[in-house]
């Protein structure tokens, strides 16, 4: 490589940049530490939590009801009385009981006619498509009944020379009893709160960093600090803008998604009967409720990001702190979408998880008012604490002039 040539210059610049990057611990962490340690760790943790919550869901009592079933016709059904954590409950209103999760499954007997007009008893298992415990219970019962048929009857009947369609003492079918609203509510409730929370963080991040680390780097922070503006006013002004940016990002995303989900499918599939066909569970009340729940969380994110921004020496340093923050926020957001997870005191004490879980419940039609108020209060308190700490940092010269 000839000295002074373009290639040589390029190589020299590259070596210098590489040296600088390799000496920057933060960049190294972002480049190597996050993909090699944090991401696998995160996925392992998510897998572990998913496994844990599924196990928990399996251990929980399954409430079932038999609706006009002649148990003597279905000897296999006798076994479920002995299953651990399976408990029979009286049946009053099957759909309501399943939708409200009072019952996980309802088993009903129906008669059907075989091709030769012979009546073959038919068992129908009704369950809730949007509820993991109900799905798991239905699946378990379905498998158990089929296995019983296979083990006890099919072989004998085959040897008796019966046609395949007649080699069964009864048929088993599964039917979702929950209304489409409830099922869609379950799906949207898992996805939307997660999306909104992450977007609220994204919306706040770049504003917060520009207003703190960016100003610090450009030297304009020093100028404003020597003006008569009170530090508290300065912090509050910056926080308000960040908070607004956070809310606006979430709101705009929800609006655009709403418009997209409501308008595009009918345009693409004009034969369908209106938008309700596509989004039967799109509950505007739950959507607004999610936004209200998001208020204190967005306030907390805004204060936290300002804190990070003012702590950082430069915009670049602040950006390097963002990746771990996003990952830390991602984990609880994902946890709350895991199947089988339901709100409990411990989970409701965890920021982000609590908002996502309560929002999901709203989409499922359950408004847990006391936990909602408690979580909002707790998140407001966290936001206030983070804001106070940010204010303290704005008065601390070792932070402001941390070059």
């Amino acid at each position: 490589m000839k000295s002074g040539s373009f290639t040589h210059q390029t190589w020299t610049v590259f070596r210098k940049e590489a040296k600088e990057i390799l000496r920057d611990k933060r960049t190294l962490f972002a480049m190597i530490g996050i993909p090699l340690l944090l991401i696998p760790g995160l996925f392992l943790l998510i897998a572990f939590l998913a496994f844990f919550f599924l196990q928990e869901a399996e251990r929980e009592t399954v409430f079932y009801a038999l609706d006009e079933v002649r148990v003597e016709s279905f000897p296999a059904l006798k076994a479920i009385n002995q299953w651990d954590n399976w408990e029979s409950r009286p049946l009053t209103h099957p759909r309501e009981q399943i939708e409200s999760r009072e019952l996980q499954i309802v088993v009903q007997e129906q008669k059907t006619e075989s091709p030769e007009n012979e009546k073959i008893p038919r068992l129908q298992i009704f369950y809730h498509e949007g509820e993991i415990r109900s799905q798991m219970a239905a699946e378990r019962l379905h498998q158990a009944l089929n296995q019983w048929i296979e083990e006890h009857q099919a072989a004998e009947w085959e040897s008796a020379g019966l046609a395949p369609e007649r080699r069964t003492p009864f048929q088993v079918e599964r039917h979702n009893l929950a209304s489409p609203e409830k099922v869609t509510g379950g799906l949207l409730g898992g996805l939307l709160p997660y999306l909104v929370v992450m977007l609220s963080l994204t919306g706040a991040a770049y504003a917060a960093l520009d207003l703190t680390a960016g100003e610090k780097e450009r030297g304009t922070l020093e100028t404003i600090l020597s003006s008569p503006v009170a530090r508290e006013a300065l912090v509050l002004g910056k926080w308000l803008l960040t908070f607004l940016a956070s809310l606006l990002t979430s709101l705009l995303t929800l609006c655009s998604l709403g418009i997209l989900l409501f308008s595009v499918p009918p345009l693409l599939f004009p034969q369908a009967e209106g938008s309700a066909h596509f989004l039967p569970g799109f509950d505007v009340g739950a959507l607004l409720g999610t936004l209200v729940l998001l208020f204190p969380l967005a306030a907390f994110f805004s204060a936290l990001l300002l804190l990070i921004g003012i702590w950082a020496r430069s915009y670049r340093e602040a950006q390097s702190y963002l990746s771990p923050v996003f990952l830390l926020a991602l984990l609880p957001a994902i946890v709350s979408t895991l199947p089988g997870i339901t709100p409990n005191v411990f989970l409701l004490c965890l920021p982000i998880v609590n908002v996502c879980l309560l929002a999901r419940e709203m989409f499922l039609g359950t408004y847990l008012w006391i936990p909602i108020l408690g979580v909002m209060g707790m998140n407001f308190l966290l936001a206030a604490l983070a804001l106070l700490l940010t204010g303290y940092f704005f008065r601390k010269e070792s932070v402001l002039f941390r070059y």
Partner: protein, 247 residues
Amino acid sequence: MSLIARKIHKSFVSSEGESIEVLRGVSLECARGKTTGLIGPNGAGKTTLLRILATLLQPDQGEAFIEGLSLRENPALVRRKISFLTNTAELYRRLTVRETLEFFSRLHGLPPKVFQQQLKRLTDELDLADFLDRRGDRLSTGMKQRAALARAILHDPPVLILDEPTNGLDILATQRILAFLRERQREGKTILFSSHHLTEVEELSQQVIFLGKGEILARGSLSEILETTGQATFSQAVNHLYPASTP
């Protein structure tokens, strides 16, 4: 006295955890309506001293007063009495000069009418008219420096603290700034400024302070400095005071 600093000490902790003493008992006085030039090589403690006097930093020891107000006890009131120009003189990139000035006039609580009068005066004196409605990121260094000076002096304070006000400027822009400062001298403002340019310190200052390694090496009028150092010219006096490094 308009500005008094007594035995100011200031240390910083480096990223390696080492304590670095930047100012070691610096005392100075600036008479009302007089200009003081602060000279010293990089790392002498000029910017730290000016930041302390602008209430951005707290001294570890010592005290300072501006217009009779204690910096430690009344920093908010002191900020109304001073203007501070940082050595980067950066402006808000996405605001126009007019918007920046308007923003600071609001922070200083200037009534709109007073702001308009000040804006007109400063636009004329600093020749801002051509770029008053231009965004901060579209200005040249000289334009930024003039706009920053306008921003600093908008509220018409009695004390001006300026950190290298001609930093990075060409001759014409420097002359414009110096002319502006001379006008402020005539108005009776107290000016404390740092500079690496001996000629402008020589030209503007009634008092010159030489700072080196956080201590005052010499102070006085130009003639007093020459007499104390036994040198014939200002430049020689500087070489005498900083034998290893000439600022």
